[in-house]
C-alpha cells in the first residue's frame, strides 16, 4: 500500500509541475523529455509546498490535502490537454555514443539512489529540515503559526524557508506517518532533475552535451550533498535551472525562457535563506545585461516575481514575529570596521576550501578557463563568482566565536549552490554563444 501512496504523492507533484511548466512555456519553447520531467518535478515541489503553505494558513488536515491535491490534478489536466497542442517535444535520435552516455548516467543515478538509501541524513538534514516536516505533518499538513514565534533553542531557525519541509511532509501526509526510509527515495529526484536540465539542447544547437551530467557524479561532495536531506543540493538544482534559462534568454530573447528564469528566481528564497542572495545575483546580472540594451520591460518581467516573493516572505516573517537565531552581527559600518581584520583570514580559509580536490575534483578550474575570455562569459561568471564572494563576505558579520568555525562548518555546503551551474558551463566554453 505504501508503494501506491508514495507513487500518488509523487505523481501529483509531477502533474502540478507539468501544468505549471506548460503555462510558463506557452508553446514558445520545446524542451526534451528529460528536461520537461526535471522541470515538472522542480516546479511541482514549488507548487505543492507553496499551496500547502498558503492554504495551510486557513485549512488543515484532510481538507488541506484535498485542496492542494485538487490544484495538482487541475494543473495536470491543463498539462495533458495543452501538451500536444502547444509543446512539440523534440524528436530524439540517439547515436551509439549517446546511448553509452545514457547508460553511464543510468548507472550513476542508480548508485546515487543506492547511496541515498544506505546513508543517514546529515545533521541539518535531520534536525533542521526533516524535523520541520514532522512538525508540519503533526499539525495536519500546515506549519503551526506558533512555530514562527517559538524559542529557537527548541525549534531551530523558525525564519528559514519551507520548500523542503513541505515537500517532505507532502509524502508523510500521503503515507499517513513520517517515514525516513521512503524519504530517501525523494532526495535523489533532485539529482535526476539536474541531469534532465543538463542534457537539454540549447536553442540553435543540434547536439546534446553529456559531459557535465556525467562529471556531476565525479564531484565527490555531490554524492553526499544530494542524499543528505539538506536544502543545499535542491537549491543548487533550482539555481542551475534559473541560471541556464536566464543565460539562454539573454542570447535568444525567447520569452518562455524569461518566464522560466523569473519563476525560478522567485523560488530560490523559498528553498533556503541563501537563496535570497542567489536571487539578487540573478536579477542584478540579468538587469545589467538588459539595461545595456535598454530592455526595461524585460528587466521588469525578470525581477517582478522574485522581488514580490522576497517582500511577501519578509513581511510574513515580520507579521508572525518569527524569531531569529543570532548567528550574525547587524550589517553595519560599525561591524565592518570592527571585523575588517577578518578579511585576509576569510580569503585564505575560503580559498583553501575551493582547492580541496577531494571535495571538488577539478570543478573550479572550469570558471578559471572562462576568465581568459571575460568579455564572452561574464554573465555566467557573474552568476558563479558573485555568490562565492558574497558568501565569503558574510563571515565578516559572523557572530560565531571563533568565526573560522563558521567557515569550516558551512562554506563548503554553500559552494554546492553554484557547483551545478559551473558544470553546466562546460559546453558553453566551446560554443560561446550559449553563455554570452
Amino acid at each position: 500500500m505504501d508503494y501506491l501512496l508514495f507513487a500518488i504523492a509523487l505523481l501529483l507533484i509531477i502533474s502540478a509541475g507539468a501544468g505549471a511548466a506548460v503555462l510558463l512555456l506557452r508553446g514558445a519553447y520545446s524542451p526534451g523529455a528529460g528536461e520537461f520531467l526535471g522541470l515538472s518535478f522542480l516546479l511541482g515541489t514549488a507548487v505543492t509546498s507553496t499551496g500547502e503553505f498558503v492554504l495551510g494558513l486557513t485549512l488543515k488536515g484532510v481538507v488541506l490535502k484535498v485542496a492542494v491535491s485538487a490544484i495538482c490534478v487541475l494543473l495536470g489536466l491543463i498539462a495533458v490537454t495543452r501538451l500536444r497542442q502547444s509543446i512539440e517535444f523534440r524528436k530524439e535520435h540517439y547515436t551509439r555514443l549517446e546511448w553509452l552516455c545514457l547508460a553511464i548516467l543510468l548507472i550513476q543515478s542508480l548508485i546515487v539512489f543506492w547511496v541515498s538509501l544506505r546513508l543517514s541524513f546529515a545533521y541539518d538534514g535531520l534536525f533542521l529540515w526533516e524535523a520541520k516536516a514532522r512538525l508540519i505533518f503533526q499539525a495536519g499538513g500546515a506549519m503551526p503559526s506558533a512555530f514562527f514565534r517559538a524559542d529557537p533553542a527548541y525549534l531551530p531557525h523558525p525564519n528559514y524557508p519551507l520548500l523542503l519541509p513541505f515537500t517532505e511532509s507532502w509524502f508523510y501526509v500521503f503515507l499517513g506517518r513520517p517515514h525516513q526510509g521512503w524519504l530517501k527515495l525523494v532526495l535523489p529526484l533532485f539529482y535526476i532533475s539536474a541531469i534532465g536540465l543538463m542534457l537539454r539542447k540549447p536553442q540553435g544547437r543540434n547536439n546534446r552535451v553529456y559531459l557535465p551530467a556525467i562529471l556531476m557524479f565525479f564531484v565527490p561532495v555531490m554524492m553526499i550533498r544530494s542524499t543528505s536531506g539538506e536544502a543545499d543540493f535542491p537549491l543548487a538544482v533550482f539555481y542551475l535551472a534559473c541560471g541556464i534559462y536566464l543565460l539562454e534568454f539573454l542570447t535568444t530573447q525567447n520569452y518562455a525562457l524569461l518566464r522560466l528564469a523569473a519563476t525560478f528566481a522567485a523560488i530560490l528564497p523559498w528553498v533556503k535563506r541563501e537563496g535570497a542572495i542567489l536571487t539578487i545575483v540573478v536579477l542584478f546580472t540579468g538587469v545589467i545585461v538588459l539595461a545595456r540594451e535598454r530592455r526595461w520591460r524585460d528587466a521588469l518581467l525578470l525581477c517582478a516575481p522574485g522581488v514580490a516573493w522576497l517582500l511577501i516572505w519578509r513581511l510574513f516573517l515580520i507579521v508572525t514575529g518569527a524569531r531569529v537565531h543570532p548567528e550574525y552581527f547587524p550589517i553595519s559600518f560599525a561591524t565592518i570596521s570592527t571585523n575588517i581584520y577578518r578579511v585576509p583570514v576569510i580569503a585564505v580559509e575560503t580559498s583553501k576550501d575551493l582547492l580541496k580536490w577531494e571535495k571538488w575534483s577539478l570543478l573550479w578550474l572550469v570558471p578559471l578557463r572562462a576568465f581568459c575570455s571575460l568579455n564572452s562569459y561574464w554573465p555566467w561568471l557573474a552568476l558563479i563568482a558573485a555568490p562565492i564572494i558574497l558568501y565569503a563576505g558574510i563571515y565578516v558579520f559572523s557572530a560565531w566565536d571563533p568565526f573560522t568555525g563558521h567557515i569550516d562548518s558551512s562554506y563548503s555546503r554553500l559552494l554546492t549552490h553554484v557547483a551545478l551551474l559551473t558544470l553546466a558551463g562546460i559546453p558553453g566554453l566551446k560554443q560561446k554563444s550559449t553563455l554570452r
Binding site: 512538525l135 527548541y154 565525479f218 536531506g229 577531494e358
Partner: protein, 185 residues
C-alpha cells in the same frame, strides 16, 4: 572524430582536444579518489541487516542512536528500534508538560543525543539539563511531564523508569522535582 581522419583539425586544435581529454581524465580520476575517501564501498560489507535498517520508518534516527552509543562501547545489536520505543513511551504520557533531558555534558555525543530526543519528541518541548554544567541550563519554570536520562541510572525504587535503549531511559513522573537531583544517582 571524422574531421580528425580527414585532417580537418590543425595541430593547435588537436592539442586543445588533448588538453580537454586530459582535463576530463584528471577530473574523473580525482573524483573517484575523492569518493573513495567517503568509504562508501564499506557499505557493501556492512552487516546484512544494515540494508534493511536503512529503509525503515525511523532509519536515520535509529542509525544515529546506534552510532552515538557505539562510540561509548554499546554494541550496535543491542540498540533495537529505540525511536519507536521512545515514541511509544511518550504516547502514554497524557500531560502536556515539557520533558527534561538529563545527561553529563562532558560526553561528546550528549548534544547530538539531545537533538535526537528533541526531534523525536516534537511537538513537545525538551529542555536540556547538563549535570556537570548546571549553570548552562536554562531554568525550568514550566510543568514537567517526564525526565529522559542518558548515562545516568534511574533513582533506586523508581517504579516508572522505562528504558528505550542502553543507557537511555524515561522517568514519567507527576512528581515535581529539580532535575539536578538525578545527577547524583
Amino acid at each position: 572524430m571524422e574531421r580528425w581522419f580527414r585532417g580537418g583539425l590543425g595541430a593547435r586544435q588537436i592539442s586543445l582536444h588533448g588538453l580537454a581529454a586530459l582535463f576530463v581524465a584528471a577530473f574523473i580520476g580525482l573524483g573517484v579518489a575523492g569518493i573513495e575517501r567517503f568509504h562508501l564501498h564499506d557499505l557493501l560489507r556492512d552487516e546484512p541487516r544494515a540494508a534493511l535498517h536503512a529503509i525503515t520508518r525511523d532509519a536515520t534516527n535509529d542509525e544515529y542512536f546506534r552510532a552515538l552509543l557505539e562510540a561509548q562501547g554499546v554494541p550496535r545489536s543491542s540498540v533495537i528500534r529505540p525511536t519507536s520505543k521512545l515514541r511509544s513511551i511518550l504516547s502514554t504520557i497524557s500531560e502536556d508538560g515539557s520533558l527534561v533531558f538529563v545527561a553529563p555534558r562532558s560526553r561528546p555525543e550528549t548534544d547530538v543525543l539531545y537533538q535526537l530526543v528533541r526531534t523525536i519528541s516534537l511537538p513537545r518541548k525538551v529542555i536540556n539539563g547538563y549535570c556537570d554544567a548546571p549553570a548552562k541550563t536554562r531554568p525550568v519554570t514550566e510543568p514537567v511531564s517526564a525526565y529522559i536520562l542518558y548515562a545516568i541510572n534511574p533513582p533506586p525504587n523508581t517504579q516508572n523508569a522505562l528504558s528505550f535503549a542502553p543507557e537511555l531511559s524515561v522517568i514519567v513522573t507527576p512528581e515535581v522535582r529539580t532535575w539536578t537531583t538525578f545527577c547524583s544517582q
